[in-house]
């Protein structure tokens, strides 16, 4: 039996449950390790007039205090543009921005000392919301625009039209393991960096730039993260940059583990979006024209906002054919944390808008939203070209939706909910179905490459190393399964090792859901080369054709001979056969013109849909998710258990974004929800009592690793169905039954306001 396609446990599960999985703060500290803490801006926008750090330097245990001028190299950690200082230099741009760093003998001493800085500021005008910044024309990059067809003409000719505004908040990643970096100076001006990061290579670059080093001087190692969700793609750089300067200046190991509150105050989140839209449609609800301005809250610097906005543009269509469409995207520069990657990376923000529009069209026409969605889905032969010019060849929604509606008993429940609502004035129920189509690949073509190393040792055990970063998503498990499958051995023979820039070089971020697609293929390539060499040897030894040698069940069958895999390996060594190999993969067929925003940016699409039912208390706005039915397309899954974990986890995380997770800034620009006491991610009672999750049966028509599909980000959009079920309940509670909720998250307060509006 192949190790692939089995619902095997996460490779570290036995370690997780025992507390034996090592995270960076668990690594025994080297002798002389110092600890670092960050002094932060208390102003949203100001010039630093004086920086008095005498009390900080005099505090117990303090070894060194560093400011921007102590950075020997480039004071920047921006992943694309160079507008992201590691430490503020003369001007601060948000409350929480790192201004100085303290290095002390203990973490507590460093944290205590960091509070003693006396900074005087000359306040400057601050922009705190994306609409404010948009009105002021303040952007971190130039606005982007994509038009197809003749939206203005189609809009004026449409039998029906709607227009409106909608605002959705951001979302804190809330990885359970906070940001951390531990740097150990090595001989000959080398540095070994442990960073909880999705992008070891980027951290290598940041350290090199900050210290004026060559890349071969810096090794970044990352065994596992306690969650990333995008928040450790670019933004682990701040901590690596500061720790690197501290380690270089002191010549001692330095660990920087910000407290949770500091982490949340310093680092960026999912971009909140504001939308202005107009849509024209026919009697069936078919969208004839759509125009939308999407204003993303970029925060104070560009970070990844450009690619995030690009993905938002490329997902405004979600599952629907938009013949005439105009999309303008603005990355508004506000005096807040620089917003960054978060699972979905703008895709959810793009798709959420069209789903809201569809819901409104359905209410306007008095139709079930399911029917309005159905007339708008991409066609199979026609109506199948996205606004950015890619042909949708693999649309599964025409099969997937009916299967889900049937398995979830949608029609009967829609009727039962109407009956319930007729008999209750305080409680109102809501129901919604939302689909997802999500494009897989980095929009930047050259990021779509990966490398791997596979070592087969003489005892038949196998070590695989690849450029991807394990953050809980099960990447190492899947890659190990692919290698085991390729060599016909059991998974217990294969071990995955830490991502390490000294093994596989020049890696891409583990992001955009591409981890197993890219690294799995690269590992498969490496394993296949070894298998071919072994097969050639077996063919020679046992007198058969290499193509006829079979690797399965830890055995190798060559002609009439069957021997254990380990025996062939041992023999191969004595025959001087190379038992290790590199592997490489680059995704084929991609193209993207960033000036016209057109091309084929995605290798394929992943699909899914969810049905959610809620009950809302119209006296308080409190609510409960009663039932969820998810059906998702993971292609031919490499590991169904891991994929279901991604689907459910993504769904609940998407629900959190749009319901209980509310980021609040006060009028001074201070994020007031900077800890789990005030920022509420879903908890155990938020898990619905009825929770049915299935994988849609099929395989990826594209030539992906074992015909599987990426599954990291797409399921986050399934959580939309909870928001729209609540929005349905809110409308059901209103006298005129109209939609009135035009903000997200749907906090209890927002829903009561919408009912009363």
């Amino acid at each position: 039996m192949s190790a692939a396609r089995q619902p095997l446990p996460h490779e570290s599960a036995h370690l997780h449950v025992a507390g034996e999985a090592t995270y960076i703060d668990d690594i025994p500290e080297s002798r002389g390790t110092l600890h670092c803490a960050i002094g932060m801006s208390t102003e949203a926008h100001a010039l630093i007039q004086t920086l008095d750090l005498d009390a900080v330097r005099a505090a117990p245990g303090v070894v060194l205090v560093i400011t921007a001028e102590d950075i020997p190299g480039v004071n920047d950690c921006g992943p694309i543009l160079h507008d992201d200082p590691i430490l503020a230099d003369g001007e601060v741009h948000y409350v929480g921005q790192p201004v100085f760093a303290v290095i002390a003998e203990s973490r507590e001493q460093a944290r205590a000392a960091a509070r003693l800085g006396k900074i005087s500021y000359k306040p400057l005008p601050a922009l705190l919301t994306p609409r404010q910044a948009h009105a002021a024309g303040a952007y971190v990059i130039d606005p982007m625009s994509l038009t197809r067809g003749e939206p203005d003409k189609a809009l004026s000719a449409a039998p029906h039209s709607l227009s409106g505004q909608f605002d959705v908040g951001g979302q804190e990643q809330f990885y359970l393991e906070g940001q951390i970096c531990y740097i150990i100076p090595k001989e000959d001006d080398g540095f070994h960096v442990y960073s909880s990061t999705q992008h070891p290579t980027e951290m290598q670059h940041v350290v090199c730039h900050a210290l004026n080093l060559s890349q071969h001087q810096v090794t970044v190692e990352m065994r596992r993260m306690g969650g990333g969700f995008g928040g450790k793609e670019s933004q682990s750089a701040i901590f690596c940059g500061i720790a690197a300067v501290a380690a270089a200046k002191t010549g001692r190991p330095v660990k920087l583990r910000p407290d949770r509150d500091d982490d949340m105050l310093i680092t960026g989140k999912r971009h909140g979006f504001a939308y202005d839209y107009e849509v024209g449609f026919d009697d069936e609800g078919r969208i004839l024209a759509a125009k939308i301005d999407m204003i993303a809250n970029a925060g104070f610097s560009a970070d990844l906002s450009g690619p995030v906005a690009t993905r938002a543009i490329c997902h405004f269509d979600n599952a629907y054919y938009l013949e005439n469409v105009a999309i303008n995207a603005y990355c508004a520069r506000t005096n807040t944390q620089s917003n960054t990657a978060f699972r979905g990376f703008g895709g959810p923000q793009g798709a959420l808008a069209i789903e809201l529009i569809i819901e409104d069209i359905a209410r306007t026409l008095g139709k079930d939203p399911v029917d309005v969605r159905a007339v708008n889905y991409y066609g199979k032969q026609d109506r199948n070209v996205t606004p950015y010019g890619q042909v949708v060849k693999d649309n599964l929604l025409h099969e997937l939706l009916p299967e889900l509606l049937d398995s979830s008993d949608y029609s009967a429940r829609r009727k039962a909910i109407a009956d319930f609502n007729a008999g209750n004035s305080v409680l109102k129920k809501g129901l919604a179905v939302t689909p997802v189509k999500f494009g897989i690949s980095f929009n930047v073509k050259h990021f779509n490459q990966a490398g791997a190393l596979v070592h087969v040792y003489t005892d038949g055990s196998v070590l695989v190393n690849h450029g991807g970063a394990e953050m809980g998503q099960g990447l190492n498990t899947k890659v190990a399964q692919v290698v085991a499958h390729e060599l016909g051995i059991s998974l217990s023979r294969v071990r995955a090792s830490a991502a390490d820039t000294s093994k596989v070089a020049n890696t891409s971020a583990t992001a955009a859901s591409t981890g197993s697609d890219l690294n799995g293929k690269a590992a498969e390539d490496a394993a296949r080369q070894i298998r071919v060499r072994l097969a050639e040897l077996a063919a020679e030894l046992y007198d058969c054709k290499a193509a006829d040698v079979v690797f399965a069940d830890d055995k190798v069958t060559a002609g009439s001979t069957q021997i254990p895999f380990s025996e062939l390996v041992a023999t191969a060594y004595t025959h001087r056969v190379q038992l290790w190999s590199d592997g490489f993969y680059k995704t084929p067929g991609l193209s993207w013109d960033k000036d016209t925003l057109t091309g084929n940016p995605f290798y394929y699409f992943a699909y899914g849909a969810a049905v959610s039912e809620v009950v809302l208390d119209t006296l308080t706005g409190e609510w409960k998710l009663l039932r969820a039915d998810l059906l998702h397309d993971a292609g031919n899954s490499i590991n169904p258990a891991i994929d279901i974990g991604q689907i459910e986890g993504g769904y609940i995380q998407g629900m959190g974004w749009l319901t209980t997770e509310e980021l609040c800034w006060n009028d001074k620009g201070l994020l007031t929800t900077h800890a789990p006491s005030t920022y509420k991610i879903p908890a155990s009672n938020d898990c619905p009592p009825v929770f049915n999750t299935s994988l849609f049966k099929g395989e990826n028509p594209a030539d992906t690793v074992l015909k599987s599909k990426a599954v990291g980000e797409p399921p986050l959009l399934l959580g939309f169905s909870v928001y729209f079920a609540l929005r349905d309940a809110v409308a059901n509670a209103r006298a005129d039954n109209s939609h009135a909720l035009y903000v997200a998250p749907a906090s209890c307060e927002a829903m009561l306001n919408a009912i009363a509006k």
Binding site: H14, V17, A18, L619, Y651, P676, T678, C748
Partner: protein, 492 residues
């Protein structure tokens, strides 16, 4: 009893003796930094995520009473005389414990960082439910309300909680540990390290004397709030006087007309006693912080802390509860609402401690309820907590007591609302007048939990909910259900 100067406790059955470490060192830091026991994680350092969950055994007669605890905010000296168990303990027999095996089998870990905390909460649940043959989903979800997971969506973890009871059982014998606790140095603890001082008196007399001698001291009970002064604020606590080793403060008595609950009784135990009389408080109990916080925190601490958003004061004030304040000169008893004089201000004198709470027991004709509203069901601080107690006679309101948290600088009664209710029939007309009166009772603040307007609306609407459940002119069959959280499953 003699005085002890070192901290002694059992850690995974091994004795620990601690001196010279700051008394504000947390158990979590001690485990991770001093013992390299890194299985227990720090996620937030404020008791809100549960990654640091450990299990603590305390003497309870001849047995060891187990409870979950957030190690991140527990000062090390508070473990004196107790048995601490960390995730490393569970594999003491070599193999995986059923809790761990079930977690693996159910694919209940992804990134794994929260996992040891979940394992410990589940293990505690296992130990306390194994004799009953298992658990149900709702009980499990409540048991895990203090553990956050960002990866899984919780379904597989809840599955594991059911699955663990189906595997071959593993029982640990806690009798030896219980015995060993008796051999640890007892008596009053006077711990000093550097500038830090920690006193754990073992009698009320000593507590009151210490408090009088050290007016700059901080009284420490469960430490679920004071712990954050160290982990988040770097404030000097001054000498700490720990109240939970004082037997007199643990007294819990049920008289004919009142419940007396000592200030050191944990929230878990206090609510257990109160919910026997007032089962309508069960939802508030389950939503009050989280199990480990309720295990550490005390009813007395919740009241003496004096937060305007504490969840016990509103219903206690509505029921007409009193508190007993003690100093070395004696006791005095005051109405709870008279304790609070302003934002974090109290009528309690510097040398007084809150000794106990006196709670009237239910009487015929009493209509009573209390609800909190917060963004999240589990482990969230109230935007508003409203409590309503009406003494009805022949359909008329004899005496109305209405109290709110989150509406003012202290938990407070709604005088205008009460006036609008007193002497009136409990009907729709009275409700309308009382709701209007509420608008002038309070001028709440806007913050990240709720706007002032929403708080005002909630105050009115909670009163309306109370009316819908208890009004004299309400037809109980009119509504199928009033509560989203308790919607019967057959309406799905």
């Amino acid at each position: 009893m003699p005085t002890t100067t070192d901290i002694s406790f059992l850690l995974n059955d091994e004795p620990q003796q601690v001196s010279q470490l700051a008394p504000t060192l947390t158990l979590l830091r001690y485990l991770r930094e001093h013992l390299d026991l890194t299985g227990t994680k720090e996620g937030c350092a404020e008791g809100d995520c549960g990654a640091c969950t450990v299990v603590v055994g305390e003497k309870d007669g001849d047995r060891l009473a187990l409870k979950t605890l957030n190690a991140c905010i527990a000062y090390l000296p508070t473990l004196h005389g107790k048995a601490v168990y960390t995730v490393e303990y569970l594999r003491r027999n070599g193999g995986a414990h059923p809790v761990q095996q079930a977690m693996v089998d159910c694919h209940a870990s992804q990134c794994g960082f929260c996992t040891p905390g979940f394992v410990m909460s589940l293990w505690h649940h296992y130990e306390t439910r194994i004799d009953q043959g298992g658990t149900d989903r709702a009980e499990l979800a409540n048991a895990l309300a203090g553990n956050l997971c960002r990866c899984t969506g919780y379904r597989p973890i809840l599955d594991a909680g059911e699955q663990m009871f189906k595997l071959p059982p593993v029982r640990f014998d806690f009798a030896p540990a219980r015995k060993r606790l008796d051999s640890l140095p007892g008596g009053s603890l006077h711990y000093e390290a550097g500038a830090g001082r920690f006193y754990a008196p073992d009698s009320l007399d000593e507590l009151l004397q210490l408090r009088r001698q050290m007016p700059d001291s901080t009284l420490l009970a469960g430490g679920t709030d004071i712990g954050l002064r160290t982990t988040k604020q770097f404030r000097d606590t001054g000498p700490l006087i720990y109240t939970l080793n004082v037997p007199e403060l643990h007294e819990l008595t049920v008289d004919d007309d009142v419940l007396r609950i000592g200030a050191a009784v944990s929230l878990t135990d206090a609510y257990k006693a109160v919910c026997k009389d007032y089962p309508q408080l069960a939802e508030l109990r389950d939503r009050f912080a989280s199990p480990p916080i309720r295990n550490a925190g005390t009813l007395g601490g919740n009241l003496a802390n004096g937060s305007p958003i504490g969840d016990s004061a509103p219903w206690l004030i509505a029921l007409g509860a009193q508190v007993v304040l003690s100093n070395a000169d004696g006791d005095r008893t005051i109405a709870l609402e008279d304790l609070y004089t302003g934002y974090m201000q109290q009528s309690r004198k510097d040398d007084e401690i809150l000794r106990s709470v006196i709670i009237p027991r239910p009487v015929p004709g009493l209509q009573f309820h209390c609800w909190k509203v917060s963004k999240r069901y589990d482990s969230d601080i109230s935007a508003v907590c409203g409590a309503f107690a009406l003494q009805l006679e022949d359909g008329k309101i004899n005496k109305a007591r209405v109290a709110f948290g989150g509406m003012a600088a202290t938990c407070a009664r709604a005088g205008g609302c009460e006036a609008a209710l007193n002497g009136k029939p409990w009907n729709k007309t009275t409700l309308a007048a009382a709701m209007t009166a509420l608008d002038s009772d309070f001028s709440p603040l806007s913050d990240m939990r709720a706007s002032a307007a929403y708080r005002q609306t909630l105050a009115r609407n909670l009163l309306q909910r109370f009316y819908l459940l208890s009004g004299s002119d309400i037809n109980p069959a009119g509504e199928q259900s009033l509560r989203a959280f308790t919607l019967p499953e057959n309406t799905l």
